[in-house]
Amino acid sequence: MLKEFESHDNNTDEKVDMGNLVQFLSFALGKEEYGVAILRVQEIRSWEPVSRIPNVPEYEKGVVNLRGAIVPIIDLRERFNLGRIEYTPLTVVVVLQTGTGNKMRIMGVVVDSVSDVVNVDKTKIQKAPDFGTKVSTEFISGLVSLNDRMVMLLDVDKLLDIDEEKADEN
């Protein structure tokens, strides 16, 4: 179920070079706000029951049928150790495209709720500090300040930790 979003400019009082703008989809996990590059967002769905996959990490909840493709669903709260919550009909799954070239995959991440599509000035993105955030820096590609909120921009490719070599092994 897709929702429509309005674009919000972050710093309307400052002049922004349009060439430096990148768009992110921001969403909430607990009290924190996160963002993923909009180009990686395929669609947004509500939570559906998944089929469990045995012997995989807890945060990999299982797989669903997305128009004929088998797509894994990851709970980001559990991935980031932010504590579990019950899923409700309002729980949202953001379907992302990860990887590049011929290693592209699709996966869904469970989030608390989705906020907006935000325009971010590329030059204003800071590197993640080594401490102080709940989420490990390996997943964060940068931090940005939006209207006094701090949004942590996620590196989508790191979310699904597939050890490629292990996967190819017998």
Binding site: P49, I53, V63, G68
Partner: protein, 692 residues
């Protein structure tokens, strides 16, 4: 208007490969003692076709090379040349060389010129008894005989005004589709044409046969056309008419320029084939056809390609099916429009029709990917021929069921395992002729490669009448290598399957023929990766059969649905032996094997699915409450303990790895009718899981 010929190139290359295969197959099948003229014709046509096409599309090197082959073959098919084994060998080598040339051209890489000229030389030697030194082959080109010019007489100059042509067609000229009017039209393009018809030979109306030509013409063509050009127009009708040319000459006094006087007799424009010049220097000693380096390069594997040639009849069937489906759909849509309960019967029958059509459509679509297994088998006559020659063994290959169709992916992936198995039979199975004789067998060993469909599967059997497997030797070797316990009591079948264990191959088996590092374990793995299995039947002294079972298509699986708690899993039907229900009493605990139960003469380990898959919602805790599904994978048997069996169905296999990861014990996933995802079990993986 120019057409881009490059668009035809790919098709031409494919045709070349097909033609080369046909030639190779024909050459291998030639029996020196009894030459089958039809086979020679097939081989000739192959060369002829490639020559023609390559000339047309500008691949001169190919057409030149093929021209020599064609000349050789032409003489053979006409009976002007005896078919000898040496000629056949040279031609076989040329086929290889040609194949490499075409591959190189297709892949835009460099052609190995030295190899080409080597084979050319060998061909020429066959053809002429010796090789020519100079660049002797030329592609046949239309050569017009030159007009011989004579110096004009100094006193008078004659200028040609044109031609006077007496054209008397024979009666039947029209019956070759030639039309005098058309000829005149062409002539008129060369200059100013006047035609005078001579009609006095036309019979009475009632005697007139309108299909015959009774008119003759006197033609006058003024202009600068040469006799050649004029004559050329009549090329096609030369045998069907009387034709006389005389030049209309004007004599004038002009002392200076010498005008070329046309000679009296101009030879007919002829197409001349460049002849191979016989060697003028001392004959180069005939070189042996090049010894083959590695088998690998010669026996080209089946290249996986992303396109497929499909019989148009299959496409037509598909179109029909889709048509039916559309009709059924509109019918259902109509019923649904103003649905009332009394239409329920119609709805039901419509739905069952839909189910039928969908199934048929699925079948047809799968069928499109099916190719006859001859695509794979065709490589082997050559392989057997070459290796048996090298090993100095006499071996005959028999192919049965080449038309059996298999999925394209199977064709591409089964090639390597088959090559290995056949090499194995050649190297280790079939004995040397003297040993065979001593054993009372015919000197010529037989390898039979057979393919057939059985119950939703394709079976490929490789049978040799060699010395069979020696189970005691195998067991001994396995014990030596520590692969098997010294006290293990193995059945014959289990003994044979030892050869599939990794590390079983010994030094004596690692010959150049069998290849290094490609053990039987890899063969079995490859076959299992295709969803199939391989079994061995053997009798010491008599021979061995390797039987490969493969699913007909790779995308669809016959599955048994089982429930474990809230989860549904699919067990591939091909791996299920039976399903039974046992009680706790029948369980045994065996050290090192865990829980087992006895099934006839075997003790099979039990895998409690909810344990290895961590299914909390499992219902059955005691044996009696659930069911044991006895399965087999990779030679190992076990019993899967599940809550209950659900239905059997065909499922479409979806990849888990495309978007996710590989999961041990799971080979893929499928989408059930209710849209949910069910995981397909991988038996060997489950066994591994339970062993940990």
């Amino acid at each position: 208007m120019s057409i881009d010929m490059a668009q035809f190139h790919q098709v031409f290359f494919e045709e070349c490969f097909e033609g080369l295969e046909a030639m190779e197959s024909g050459l291998l099948n030639l029996d020196m003692g009894d030459i089958d003229s039809e086979i020679i014709n097939v081989i000739f046509r192959g060369a002829h076709s490639i020559k023609g096409g390559s000339g047309t599309f500008g691949f001169t090197s190919v057409s030149e090379f093929t021209h020599i082959m064609e000349t050789l073959l032409d003489e053979m098919r006409d009976g002007r040349r005896k078919v000898t084994q040496s000629a056949v060998n040279v031609l076989l080598g040329s086929v290889d060389c040609l194949r490499e040339m075409v591959t190189a051209i297709q892949g835009d890489s460099a052609v190995d010129e030295s190899r080409v000229s080597e084979h050319k030389k060998a061909l020429e030697i066959e053809l002429n008894g010796s090789a020519s030194t100079a660049e002797s082959t030329q592609a046949p080109a239309p050569v017009k005989a030159a007009v011989v010019a004579k110096p004009a007489a100094p006193e008078f100059e004659t200028i040609s005004e044109g031609w006077s042509i007496a054209f008397t067609p024979y009666l039947d000229i029209l019956k070759t589709g030639n039309d005098p009017v058309r000829l005149f039209r062409e002539l008129a393009e060369l200059g100013e044409l006047t035609t005078t018809a001579n009609i006095h030979d036309i019979p009475d109306f009632y005697e007139l046969d309108p299909e015959e030509c009774h008119i003759a013409w006197d033609l006058k063509l003024l202009g600068t056309a040469t006799e050649e050009e004029v004559s050329e127009i009549f090329d096609w009708v030369k045998g069907d008419c009387e034709l006389e040319f005389s030049e209309i000459l004007l004599k004038i006094l002009k002392p200076q320029e010498a005008l070329p006087d046309t000679s009296e007799q101009i030879p007919e424009p002829e197409i001349v084939l460049a002849q191979l010049a016989p060697a003028t220097v001392a004959a180069i000693s005939a070189s042996e056809p090049v010894a083959r380096q590695t088998e690998e390069s010669k026996v080209a594997g089946v290249k996986p390609s992303s396109s497929i040639r499909v019989d148009t009849s299959k496409i037509d069937t598909l179109i029909n099916m889709v048509g039916e489906l559309v009709i059924t759909q509109s019918m259902l849509s109509l019923i649904g429009e103003h649905f009332t309960m009394n239409k329920l019967g119609q709805l039901k029958s419509g739905l069952s029709q839909l189910e039928r059509h969908t199934r048929e459509l699925q079948q047809s679509v799968m069928n499109i990917r099916m190719l006859p297994i001859s695509f794979v088998f065709s490589r082997f006559p050559r392989l057997v021929h070459d290796i048996s020659t090298k090993l100095e063994k006499k071996i005959e290959l028999k192919l049965v069921g080449e038309n059996t169709e298999v999925d394209k992916a199977v064709v591409e992936l089964i090639n390597d395992p088959l090559v290995h198995l056949i090499r194995n039979s050649l190297d280790h199975g079939i004995e040397m002729p003297d040993i065979r004789r001593a054993a009372g067998k015919s000197e010529t060993g037989l390898i039979e490669l057979k393919a057939y469909h059985r119950g939703g599967h394709i079976v490929i059997e490789i049978t040799d009448d060699g010395h069979g497997l020696n189970r005691d030797k195998l067991v001994k070797k396995a014990i030596e290598k520590g692969l098997v316990d010294a006290n293990a009591n193995l059945s014959d079948k289990q003994a044979y399957e030892l050869i599939f264990m990794p590390g079983f191959s010994t030094a004596e088996q690692l010959t150049d023929i069998s290849g290094r590092g490609v053990g039987m374990d890899v063969v079995r793995k490859n076959i299992q990766a295709l969803g199939g299995n391989i079994e061995i039947i053997s009798e010491l002294g008599k021979g061995t059969t390797f039987a490969i079972h493969l699913p007909l298509t790779l995308a669809i699986l016959d599955g048994q649905s089982v429930a474990v708690g809230d989860e549904t899993y699919i067990v591939p039907l091909v791996s299920i032996i039976e399903s039974i229900n046992i009680s706790e009493k029948m369980l045994n605990r065996i050290v090192g094997k865990g829980e087992t139960f006895r099934l006839r003469s075997e003790y099979l380990p039990i895998i409690r699915m909810h344990e290895i898959f961590n299914v909390k919602s499992v219902k059955a805790s005691k044996m009696a409450e659930g069911t044991i599904v006895v399965v087999e994978g990779q030679g190992v048997r076990c019993g899967l303990f599940v809550d209950e069996l659900r239905g059997q169905q065909q499922v479409v296999i979806k990849s888990l790895e495309a978007n996710y990861r590989r999961v041990e014990g799971i080979s893929g996933a499928t989408i059930l009718g209710d849209g949910s995802v069910a995981l397909i079990l991988d038996i060997p993986g489950l066994v591994r899981l339970s062993n940990r």
